[in-house]
Each structure stands twice: as structure tokens, then as C-alpha cells.
Symmetry: C2
Subunit: 120 residues, 2 copies
């Protein structure tokens, strides 16, 4: 029941591709992520993901198309759908998905797979 400031929360970390939980509710989590570069192809077996760009430019690539997003634009990645995200320059992303969703979904990758439930 306290105010949460997105800009303040984003200012607290610099690492990329490692989601930070800013709120938990109804078995879901609201996470923020700094991204730059290209994330591995993956899918989530049982989780849909809502991604909203807060700052910067962000691409969500599916096997048949690329969705290019700017601030205030969002997309839903349905469960089971292969996707890969990328950004040429750092972008700030808000994500709404079930708690304990693994960021790399069905794959484990030394650089990109991040611990879940990291609250900031």
C-alpha cells in the first residue's frame, strides 16, 4: 500500500536481463527489466507474458514476425509461443506474469537465465 515509483526502482540496479519484482498479487508478479542486446529464443510452457515498454525501443520477435515497441506500447506473448527479445540501446520494460516464471522459459542458459523472485 506504499507508492512504487518505476523510475526510482529502475535507478536501483544496472544489470540487464535480470527481472526485479516490484509487486506481487494474485499469484502474479509485476517485474521490471533493463534490456540491451539480444535474448535467446525460448518459450514458456504455462505462462503468458505481458510486456510494456517504459523507456527506449524494444523488439519482440516471433518466428513469423517482429513487433517493434516504443514507450507506452505493449504486447502479450502467449504461453507456448517461441520468442526472442532485443534492443539496440538500453530499454526499460515492465512485465506482468505469473510468479516464479523463469525468464528463459524452456531453456537454461548460463548468461541469461536469472534467479526468480528477486524483489527490489
Amino acid at each position: 500500500m506504499n507508492k512504487i515509483s518505476l523510475d526510482e526502482k529502475f535507478s536501483l540496479f544496472s544489470e540487464r536481463w535480470r527481472p526485479k519484482v516490484i509487486a506481487a498479487l494474485n499469484g502474479q508478479e509485476v517485474k521490471i527489466i533493463k534490456v540491451q542486446g539480444e535474448f535467446p529464443w525460448h518459450h514458456h510452457d504455462n505462462e503468458d507474458e505481458f510486456l510494456l515498454v517504459w523507456k527506449g525501443k524494444f523488439r519482440v520477435e516471433f518466428r513469423d514476425r517482429v513487433v517493434k515497441l516504443e514507450p507506452g506500447e505493449c504486447v502479450v506473448v502467449p504461453r507456448g509461443t517461441e520468442h526472442r527479445t532485443s534492443a539496440d540501446e538500453e530499454a526499460h520494460i515492465l512485465c506482468f506474469e505469473p510468479a516464479a516464471t523463469v525468464n528463459t522459459g524452456n531453456i537454461r542458459e548460463a548468461t541469461y537465465t536469472a534467479p526468480g523472485g528477486v524483489v527490489i
Copy 2:
């Protein structure tokens, strides 16, 4: 898997306090709401709500405090917690909550209780 623009979605309606669904996932909905004035006191028995201000200034009042929010600021209203929202001038709000959450929670009010599941 199509791009959703918040500003475009907000431009499609003018009525206030009547949530519009812009995405559904994991049994939850992402809704947008235009607000101005003061909403009735209520609570949600079984649903937590995440509220993010996209434009304008917005207040979320609890029985023991008022949380004042500006763009990029958010708050979680836990289930069972009485609250009342208000805005002096029109504000644009993003809401994450379970599908079929009734906007007025435990009360029914002729002016404010809105139909659920209205997709825009």
C-alpha cells in the same frame, strides 16, 4: 501478439470510471481506465489490484492514509482493503487484476458499477 498502444487505446473512449480490457492473460486482465472525480469507498473480497498512473495525477485513499500518484507511480491495493480513488483532473490509469473483478468490489452503485470484460 499484436502491438497494443496505450495512447491509442485511451483515445478510443471518453467515459470515466469504466474499465476497458486491453489484454487478458493467466486469468488476469490488463485494463485501462479514465478517471476524474471521486469513486465510492469499496473493497474487493478476493482480488488484489495493481494500479499504475499513465497520465495525470491520481489519489488512492485508504482509511489511514492517502497515496498520491503521478505518471510512472503505482500501488497495490490488497484484497479486503477499503479504498477510494479520486482525481481532480482527468487521469489515465493502467490496472492489473483478475478477470471479472467488479470495479466497485463489494458495493453496487448505479453510476459507478461498470460491466466487466469490455474489450477495447
